[in-house]
Amino acid sequence: MKKGIDCVGIFVSGICHDGQGNILYRRRGPGARDEQGKWDPGVGGALEMGETIEQCLLREMKEEIGTTPSSFEFLGHREKFRNLDGVETHWLGFYYKCLIDPLSVVIGDTQESDLTIWAPFSQHQSPMMIGFEDTYTKFKHRF
């Protein structure tokens, strides 16, 4: 049973900013679920059964960047349909804006993400994840 392939996957994504106009971009490492080598503007992952969306956000932050936001606000949801190597995937994402102290960030698992950079949201890295344009268009006015 694979999330996003056998059933609708639900994910949470926290777009982290430093309060100075920069957001945290991370490059997906070889151990990422999909889209390895692509730049991801969010920290997050799949919702687990029985877990609330906010619990998932904080758990994923802790796991992936070793810290939790000093404040966060809900941005909105987005439907994500991708064809990945011939496989149709279906994810439903819940996006948050998270204030993070850059000095508190510790990347625990370099297999999950192998490069990080703080940059303005408008300064896109290359290559970005599929559908990033849509995420950017939807939420840029909130940053």
Binding site: M1, C7, V8, M49, I53, E79, F81, E88, H90, L92
Partner: protein, 143 residues
């Protein structure tokens, strides 16, 4: 694998109105899974690969035999309950939907005993247990 029990399920639920402050409710038959005899606004599970608004349109067509004239997204809720002793986990997307009253029929007589239009302050009892809390949350949008 069972939706809502083995993995988090996604549902759409709809408050259908006629543009004149009347809302469409239906009474659940004894053949429904639960909440027999309760009045409900309507809803159902999202299918894999289906957009939320497509799932909404399909469910409305199945239950009421017509298509939405207008759709307004209200919000979503995380629903944790128990079914036959097992914990269930659903995320429900709520919509306000304008229907053409002339076109509404009982599309699912095996699940729907009766259809009727009510002003919000005159809703019948018992209401579906999920409706009470949702009504409170979204009442400002449902006037």
């Amino acid at each position: 694998m069972i939706k809502g029990i083995d993995f988090t399920g996604v549902t759409v639920s709809f408050y259908c109105h006629d543009g004149k402050g009347n809302y469409l409710l239906h009474k659940r038959t004894n053949r429904c899974r639960d909440e027999h005899g309760a009045w409900d606004c309507g809803g159902g599970g999202l299918k894999f690969g289906e957009k939320l608004e497509d799932g909404l349109t399909r469910e409305i067509q199945e239950e009421y035999g017509t298509k939405p004239e207008e759709i307004q997204f209200l919000g979503f809720d995380e629903v944790f309950r128990e079914h036959e002793g097992k914990p269930t986990h659903w995320i429900s997307f709520r919509y306000k939907v304008l229907l053409d009253r002339e076109k509404v029929i009982n599309g699912e007589p095996e699940k729907i005993d009766e259809l009727s239009w009510y002003k919000i302050e005159e809703f019948p009892v018992p209401l579906h247990s999920q409706m009470e809390s949702a009504l409170e949350k979204y009442k400002s949008f449902l006037k």
